[in-house]
């Protein structure tokens, strides 16, 4: 009896300790609702040069808060980290015909993020244009699960509004499993050791966006300036042929997702908003390996986007191909994240 008791009690104590640590530190704010996201969003729009981006911070938390302010902007951008450099308050300004831009891009955005953030943005008011940035994985469900943590409840409502159908939700199991996840424990421990148990809101100073500062900065328009260390390391990092296959393995271009996206565009237009489709390029090295998952995903996705644009009479801006948009190899942070200068070039002639 002693043996099994020792095994189980040791395991229970260790797992419980991890759970207590994760609950207490809660680096992504999964377990305790706080007004941090709202506060951050409020400070951000009022700031002159933006705010420091907290190290462990679920950007969906404040982007969903920012979305409710969309009516105050001329153009709103929805997309993944690929559009983090799209903005109107930056050195390399994008979409010059947009008087002001609100960037609602979130890391790894899947179609569920597009649906919820569009719905939040248009529920609160009406910007002039809604720019949908399409990634090679956008037309597939479940490509990123983080939406479940932040707006699991809103997604079915948003989807109902867009297509009038019920949708299955379920983010709580995912959230609670994080309580005893090694990955989340590592994050909690990291924060604990750094002595920053709760993120703080710190105002950023004016910096050269091509160089960056000690920490990443979220600009007042929601776009991002990476940290100096990241920008420096990106300059020397090698990009493998074909690139890293990020979300491009497995199912892509699901017909149901394409259909949902068409409805989303039509729904936006019904709300008196001008929909625009955008594609940001991948690095030249990615296109060197034509059989790579990335290229195999991008080619059909781009065809779908162009066809969708034609059929729905929606402008299509940009391309996954860097030579088409005129971005140079050194205008990328990595295989798939173009720099602001590249984004500015590809959106320069867009007349929205």
């Amino acid at each position: 009896m002693n043996y099994i008791f020792t095994v189980l009690s040791t395991a229970a104590v260790l797992v419980a300790s991890a759970a207590v640590l994760n609950w207490t530190i809660d680096p992504a704010g999964l377990f305790r609702k706080s007004s941090f996201g709202q506060q951050y969003a409020n400070y951000l729009v009022a700031s002159e040069h933006g705010l420091l981006t907290p190290d462990s911070f679920d950007e969906r938390e404040f982007k969903s808060e920012l979305a409710t302010d969309a009516a105050h902007y001329d153009c709103v951008v929805i997309g993944s980290s690929h559009v983090m450099q799209v903005g109107s308050t930056r050195k390399h300004r994008s979409f010059p015909t947009c008087k002001s831009i609100l960037n609602l891009g979130v890391s790894g955005a899947g179609i569920e993020d597009h649906v919820v953030l569009s719905w939040l943005a248009l529920s609160a008011g009406r910007p002039r244009a809604l720019i949908f940035s399409i990634d090679p994985w956008t037309f597939a469900f479940g490509k990123d699960e983080r939406w479940k943590v932040r707006y699991a409840e809103q997604y079915p409502v948003a989807r109902m509004a867009i297509e009038g159908k019920n949708a299955v939700s379920g983010g709580s199991a995912n959230r609670w499993s994080s309580l005893i996840s090694a990955q989340y424990t590592k994050r909690s421990l990291g924060l604990l050791l750094r002595g920053a148990s709760t993120p703080s809101i710190e105002v950023a100073r004016s910096v050269d966006e091509d160089v960056g500062d000690e920490f990443a900065i979220t600009l007042p328009d929601g776009s991002l300036v990476y940290s100096a260390a990241y920008i420096t390391s990106a300059k020397i990092a090698k990009i493998p042929a074909g690139g890293e296959s990020y979300k491009t393995d497995g199912a892509i271009n699901d017909g149901r997702a394409v259909d949902l996206y068409r409805r989303l565009i039509l729904w936006a237009r019904e709300h008196g908003v001008k929909p625009v489709l955008l594609m940001t390029p991948y690095h030249q090295n990615v296109w060197m390996l034509e059989a790579s998952p990335n290229v195999k995903a991008m080619v059909p996705t781009e065809k779908i986007v162009r066809k969708m644009g034609e059929e729905l009479d929606v402008p299509v801006i940009g391309s996954f191909r860097p030579e088409i948009v005129g971005c140079l190899p050194d205008e990328f942070y990595d295989s798939m994240h173009p720099m602001a200068s590249c984004v500015a070039r590809l959106t320069a002639r867009a007349n929205l």
């Binding site: 020792t6 189980l8 395991a11 499993s177 059989a291």
Partner: protein, 510 residues
């Protein structure tokens, strides 16, 4: 349901275990029925529709077993006829689900006819439960097995620890245990031993196999898409896969043995440190042992084994290994893998015949033997993992160094430019962009675990963990003490924290 899931560990296992022993206190028959029902529930978790298929297979084979048993008492010829029909029925079922599309695709390619592929979902574990039952039917025919208790037969086939990925069980190993009264009594020592073996297996899967998968998959993926790896990167991928597969499958087998031991039932060993084998013949006595035994007893020996002269023996070896390869999957890559091992075995037997070397070697000869065997096995794993023969060929070309070698960028300054066109300085894994420092630490660690540490059965030898007797190494022995309990607890906690990234076992696909 996966063994490495919270649902299994905190839901299914305690409920099944408690239900079994609670019911056993009033009726052994009821307890066996409960375990059989729980096993079917476990199977149906993936796809409830296939429960009907496995039950149909069990019912038909039970009937065949009954018929063969009765027929052999009156006429050996009639018994042989029933056996033949039963084996053809089983292989037919397997052929339909597993090989129909492979057959159609090859016929289409050979004849140019445009035959459409059939939409068939492969039932989980079909290869395992089909082989288990064929072995039973042959044993009934040989007079070494007989089963008239339907519940026990259902339990023998569906018993959840082995149902999906083995071990392939023999009737004689299992049925006496289900009939033994002691099986139905709570035995705390067996629960302790079973839990420990389960935790070790879980740790192998979650902490090691899943980690090595992170190094193997990117290399094989980039090659599958036309990438041409250089020497070091190709070997990183191949070695990582060899380690992933071993820790994954032996981890699963440990978990199966441990789970079964909690129910007072010993399963046969499936792994005995195969990468320590000094030759390929010995490797096959240590890798997937229950399948090797099956192939030997029910294929190689009936083909004539070594009884019909040397050339026929080699032919029998090749046939056995080619079919063994095909058993793993309907694809030419598996046939290639089986063929390579057949060739290895023929060479090994030929070498023994030539040199007369039969005994165990020692010292540097043993080390060289282990090294050579391991390299041969790693080379053969390439088609086993590759998506097609082209991808396997690309990997082999890389492993031979034909694509050159890529070294760390930091070395470039020490070498005059252009000194050898086959040497570039783009990092160790330029195509897959793996973290070279991490891989350099991880691979030797994995190799040290398999070569320097005892295996699970040796750790637990004092408690005779498996059906076969295991000799305990003198210095390494797990004790059911508090100290070891704490170590087991730490290991268990680590695996539980890692379970949030669930991953299926590689052998589930077979």
């Amino acid at each position: 349901m996966l063994f490495n899931s919270y649902a299994f560990i905190f839901g299914y296992l305690p409920v099944t275990l408690a239900g079994f022993f609670l019911l056993a206190s009033s009726s052994h028959r009821l307890a066996a029925l409960w375990l059989a029902a729980a096993s079917l529930f476990f199977y149906g978790w993936w796809n409830p529709a296939f429960v009907a298929l496995v039950m149909a297979s069990i019912t038909v084979n039970y009937g065949f077993g009954y018929a063969i048993g009765h027929a052999r008492l009156r006429s050996g010829k009639k018994a042989m006829t029933v056996l033949t029909v039963s084996v053809i029925t089983n292989l037919g079922l397997l052929a339909y689900f597993k090989y129909a599309n492979f057959f159609i695709a090859n016929v289409s390619q050979l004849t140019g006819a445009e035959l459409s592929v059939v939409n068939i979902v492969l039932p989980l574990g079909i290869s395992f439960f089909t082989f288990t039952q064929i072995a039973f039917l042959v044993d009934v025919y040989r007079g070494i097995a007989r089963e008239y208790n339907f519940i026990h037969y259902v339990l023998f086939v569906t018993y959840f620890p082995h149902l999906i990925a083995g071990p392939v069980l023999h009737h004689k190993q299992m049925m006496p245990q289900f009939g033994y009264a002691g099986t139905y009594r709570v035995n705390l020592e067996n629960i302790n031993i079973g839990l420990t073996i389960f935790i070790i297996g879980l740790a192998k899967k979650v902490l090691l196999a899943d980690q090595f998968a992170l190094y193997a998959n990117p290399v094989f993926d980039v090659v599958a898409h036309g990438g041409e790896p250089k020497l070091i990167e190709a070997w990183i991928g191949a070695l990582a896969y060899a380690l992933q597969l071993y820790f994954d499958f032996s981890g699963y087998s440990d978990m199966a043995i441990g789970l079964s031991r909690m129910f007072n039932v010993k399963l046969p060993m499936n792994f005995d440190s195969p990468y320590k084998a000094p030759n390929i013949i010995e490797f096959w006595r240590r890798w997937h042992m229950t399948l090797s035994t099956f192939l030997r007893d029910y294929l190689y020996v009936p083909l004539g084994g070594s009884r019909k002269g040397v050339p026929r023996r080699y032919l029998n070896l090749m046939i056995t290994m080619l079919l063994g390869g095909l058993w793993h999957g309907a694809g030419w890559t598996f046939v290639m893998w089986g063929g390579l091992h057949g060739l290895y075995l023929v060479i090994n037997h030929g070498w023994r015949r030539l040199t007369g070397a039969e005994g165990e070697s020692s010292g540097w000869r043993a080390v060289a033997g282990i090294g050579l065997t391991f390299i041969a096995v790693v080379i053969a794993w390439v088609p086993f993992r590759a998506t097609d023969l082209d991808a396997a060929l690309h990997m082999w070309v890389g492993m031979l160094g034909v694509n050159g070698i890529s070294l760390p960028m930091s070395l470039a300054v020490r070498v005059p430019s252009g000194f050898n066109p086959l040497v570039v300085f783009e990092g160790l894994a330029p195509l897959s962009a793996l973290n070279a420092q991490e891989v350099i630490l991880a691979l030797p660690f994995g190799l040290a675990v398999i070569w320097l540490l005892p295996n699970t059965q040796q750790w637990m030898a004092k408690y005779q963990p498996a059906w076969e007797a295991v000799r305990a190494p003198s210095r390494w022995s797990w004790q059911l003490s508090r100290k070891y309990g704490a170590v087991g607890g730490v290991l268990f906690a680590l695996t539980l924290l890692m379970l949030t990234r669930e991953s299926a076992f590689l052998y589930f696909q077979f």
